[in-house]
Amino acid sequence: MASLAVRRAKDSTIKAISTAFAVFALFLLAWILFTLIQKGLPALGLNVFTRITLPPGQNGGLLNAIVGSLIQIAIAMLIGTPIGLMAGTFLAENGKTTKVGHVARFVNDILLSAPSILVGLFVYTFLVAPLGGFSGWAGAIALAILVIPVVVRTTEDMLNLVPVGLREAAFALGAPQWKVVMLVTWRAAQAGIVTGILLAIARAAGETAPLLFTSLGNNSWSLDLSRPMASLPIAIYQYAGSPFDDWVSLAWAGALLITVGVLVLNILARLFLARTK
């Protein structure tokens, strides 16, 4: 065995390197945020929120993309939250040790990390191609499929933290299961469930790939969900790769908006959870 001095030196070196790695990771986050602020803030004028996407040189904005994103996210959450909540409850309660439960838990873990672009392809082959067109509905459904596993996972985890005694007490009073779940278990796990929903919104807000083949994007003002619908990530994708300087600036402004939104949601979710623990 090496001498104590050598072992101590090695220990300090590795500690220094590990600390440097952690500092580097924080630096990367700061670098990304700095880039977004530096390039996005100057482009973030009032026009971004009041004007729709226009041809280069016409001082366009991102209004239709922002509204389109909000509509699709809202519908995705309206579809995905109840299904996710129920499926998560199933995994924590009735299906906990059943075969269906085990397989569903496994499948949900796969869905959670599965490539999001394949969800887009799936919705394309399942809805867009047979129904004959890209639409806001298709985009919202693709996002809903991404939202479900996030809600399922957090709901199950949070319900598992609720003491069995609480459920037993409610059952002992003669309450039917739906009352036990809705008025006792869900209420006890409320903060955690809300955290999961916030994280799911954050995930849906940043996804680009699943919208490429579903809601497609739309450069004019449209609230019609049966037609192609604009969204912030798609507009950013389209503009960032364009040769026009004003479009690229708008892409940065949009990128800043999305990132700030997503990070704020993430931090809120964590604070929410920490406060109630």
Partner: protein, 330 residues
């Protein structure tokens, strides 16, 4: 659960769970509906995955029929002659994801060591959360950052010296040849490394925290340094789950789309160099889909690519889950 008593006698209880037993028949029916919808939602999740696999397979079937299994190892992607093969994309997908893991792994080991052993207790949480935020940044943002910031830096400062230094070497030289374009396989791997780093680190930290204190204290007791305990006690204890964490990172990198599409160059020809433009399955689908009309062999081939990606991701993610869970059970 035939309760005859009523909760109305106790006001506190009444507020908490409402009148009990007073609407027995209604209650029983709504309970049945409720339980059925619980089961229905659980089964829905199962069906969803099955549907995704089935639809991708069905969509890609014409391509598999046209090219047979040769589709897997043909390096052609020619929309004009309608000759398609997946080799270039499969290679690009796996190669770029492996680069990402190779870069992210040592960083994750270091950061996990820092977060679980070195950092002052008060700083662990905030630093850990900040690193987790790297995972929350949307992938299109990584794409823009990679395209506008990292690629030019790679072209100016990283690729030229590597080409000059390592390009002429025998055996490994071919990896470092070609022009310094900024993008390519290495840049894509680098960006993805940043994206998967938080996932791997978080699971490493979780595993390290599950090591029984007694084990570590015994090792300290015989005079081990912090690093020696980390390397010889903590890591071996959590080895299986840590391999699972790495597999999860790999699985995420395999399917990454937007960040890669921005920097990889989207060239559908085979090239071994780390700096040459390439393509992954996901980037090819994102990039070529707008030009693939319905009913064409090109669209079928893209769906077949999607199916292949699904199969690869599924295997990697399933393996990851198996490893992580088996460790947690012990």
């Amino acid at each position: 659960m035939d309760a005859t008593m009523s909760g109305a006698g106790n006001p506190a209880m009444g507020r908490a769970i409402g009148p009990i037993g007073s609407e027995k028949a209604v209650g029983r029916l709504s309970d049945r509906v409720f339980v059925a919808s619980l089961w229905g939602s659980g089964i829905f999740v199962l069906v969803l995955l099955g549907l995704i696999i089935a639809m991708l397979f069905e969509g890609g079937l014409p391509a598999f029929q046209a090219f047979g299994l040769d589709f897997l190892w043909t390096a052609a992607w020619n929309p004009v002659t309608e000759n398609f093969g997946a080799l270039v994309m499969i290679y690009g997908t796996i190669f770029s994801a492996v680069i990402a893991v190779v870069i992210a792994l040592p960083l994750s080991f270091g950061i996990a060591f820092f977060l679980s052993e070195i950092a002052p207790q008060a700083l662990r949480k905030p630093i850990g959360v900040a690193i987790q935020l790297l995972a929350a940044v949307p992938s299109i943002i990584y794409g823009m950052w990679g395209f506008f910031i990292i690629s030019p830096l790679m072209a100016a400062y990283v690729q030229p010296p590597l080409i000059d230094l390592l390009g002429p070497l025998p055996v490994i030289g071919f990896l470092f040849q070609g022009p310094a374009l900024g993008g390519g396989m290495l840049t894509a791997g680098l960006i993805m490394a940043v994206m998967i780093l938080p996932f791997i680190t978080a699971m490493f930290v979780e595993t390290l925290e599950s090591v029984p204190p007694m084990l570590k204290e015994s090792a300290y007791g015989v005079g081990g340094t912090t690093y020696e305990v980390y390397k010889n006690v903590s890591i071996p204890y959590g080895r299986t789950a840590m391999v699972g964490a790495v597999m999860l990172g790999l699985g995420r990198a395999l399917g990454e789309t937007m960040a890669v599409t921005f920097v990889i160059g989207n060239a559908t020809r085979l090239s071994a160099s780390l700096f040459a433009p390439g393509a992954t399955i996901a980037s090819t689908i994102a990039n070529e889909f707008p030009e693939a009309a319905q009913g064409t062999l090109k669209l079928d081939s893209l769906l077949a690519l999607g199916f292949i990606l699904f199969v690869i991701s599924f295997i990697v993610l399933a393996l990851s889950r198996f490893l992580v869970r088996s460790n947690l059970k012990n």
